[in-house]
Symmetry: C2
Subunit: 159 residues, 2 copies
C-alpha cells in the first residue's frame, strides 16, 4: 500500500464536506455543521481562499484530510500554521496516516519559514491528546480561548 | 478628547514593535519577544501580509493597538477573525478604548461575513477575563490548544 498526500482542488469539495461531517460526528458536534458544498467552494476555492486542504490517499483512495491556514505570532514576527481539522477515516487508522499528514504540515512550516504548528483538541479525546504529546507538542493550558459570536458579536458591532 | 481608529501602515512599524514589547512586558513574557522592526515590516507589510493592525489614537496620539488575522471554521464554512494582540497603554486605560477596538473588530467581522471573533487570554489575567465575559464572550475550555515548535517540529518534518 502506498500513502500519498496531495493538495485539494475545487473538485474535492464533496469529499471535503464529507470529511468535515465525519469529523464533526466523531467530535459529537454534527449538529453544528452548517457548511455546504457551495459555501466551502466559495471560501476555500473562491477569489479569497481562507484555508488550504491536503488530501491523504491510500492507493488512490481518499483516507483522510488536513485543513489549515496561517496564523501569526507578534513575539516572533513570524507566521505559523494552524491546523483546523485533521481526520483519518476509521478504517484507515493505525497505519501512520495522521502522523504523515502532520509531518507534511511540519515540512510546509519549514518551507514557509513558520515557527509553529498549532491546533486544538477536545478535552475528552484522550487517544489524540496522548498521540500529540508523543510528538513533543505542548498543551497551552495557561491560555483561555474566548469566542464572541451571534447576538453578543452583533451587539458589540453596534456599540 | 476624541478617540479614532485607523489602519496601520509600514511607517507604524516602530510603534507596533513598542506595543508588542509593552504587551509582552504586561504578560510577563518579554523574554520571548524576538520580533524586530525588519521582521515586522516583512511579515506585516511585505509581499504577503500575515496580519492586519489597527491603531487607536486619542487626539492624534497612539494609545493602543489591535493586531488580527483571519481564521476559518469548517463547521461554518466561513472565515472568522482572530485577535492576536490587544493593548492599551496604561495611562489611557479606563476610557473604553479597548472596547472600542474590539467593537471595530466586530464591525469588520460583520463587513467581511465572519461568524466569530476569537482570542486567547492568560489564565491569571482576571481583569481582562471579567471584561471579555461582560461582552458576552464564551470561554472555550473544553478545547486544549497544542503547539509544536523547535526541535519537535524539526523532528516531525524530517520523519
Amino acid at each position: 500500500m502506498t500513502f500519498n498526500i496531495r493538495e485539494a482542488t475545487a473538485s474535492d469539495v464533496p469529499l471535503i464536506l464529507q470529511f468535515i461531517r465525519d469529523l464533526a460526528e466523531y467530535e459529537k458536534l454534527a449538529h453544528l455543521v452548517v457548511a455546504t458544498e457551495a459555501t466551502l467552494r466559495e471560501t476555500l476555492f473562491g477569489s479569497t481562499p481562507f484555508a488550504e486542504v491536503l488530501i491523504g490517499e491510500e492507493d488512490g483512495t481518499a483516507a483522510g484530510f488536513a485543513l489549515f491556514f496561517h496564523n501569526y505570532s507578534t513575539f516572533l514576527a513570524q507566521p505559523g500554521i494552524y491546523l483546523e481539522d485533521l481526520f483519518v477515516k476509521p478504517e484507515y487508522r493505525g497505519r501512520g496516516y495522521g502522523k504523515a499528514l502532520l509531518a507534511r504540515l511540519a515540512q510546509i512550516a519549514r518551507e514557509r519559514n513558520c515557527g509553529r504548528v498549532e491546533w486544538a483538541v477536545l478535552d475528552w479525546n484522550e487517544p489524540s491528546i496522548a498521540f500529540y504529546k508523543s510528538l513533543g507538542a505542548r498543551v497551552m493550558d495557561d491560555w483561555h480561548t474566548f469566542r464572541l459570536t451571534g447576538e453578543a458579536l452583533e451587539k458589540l458591532a453596534g456599540s
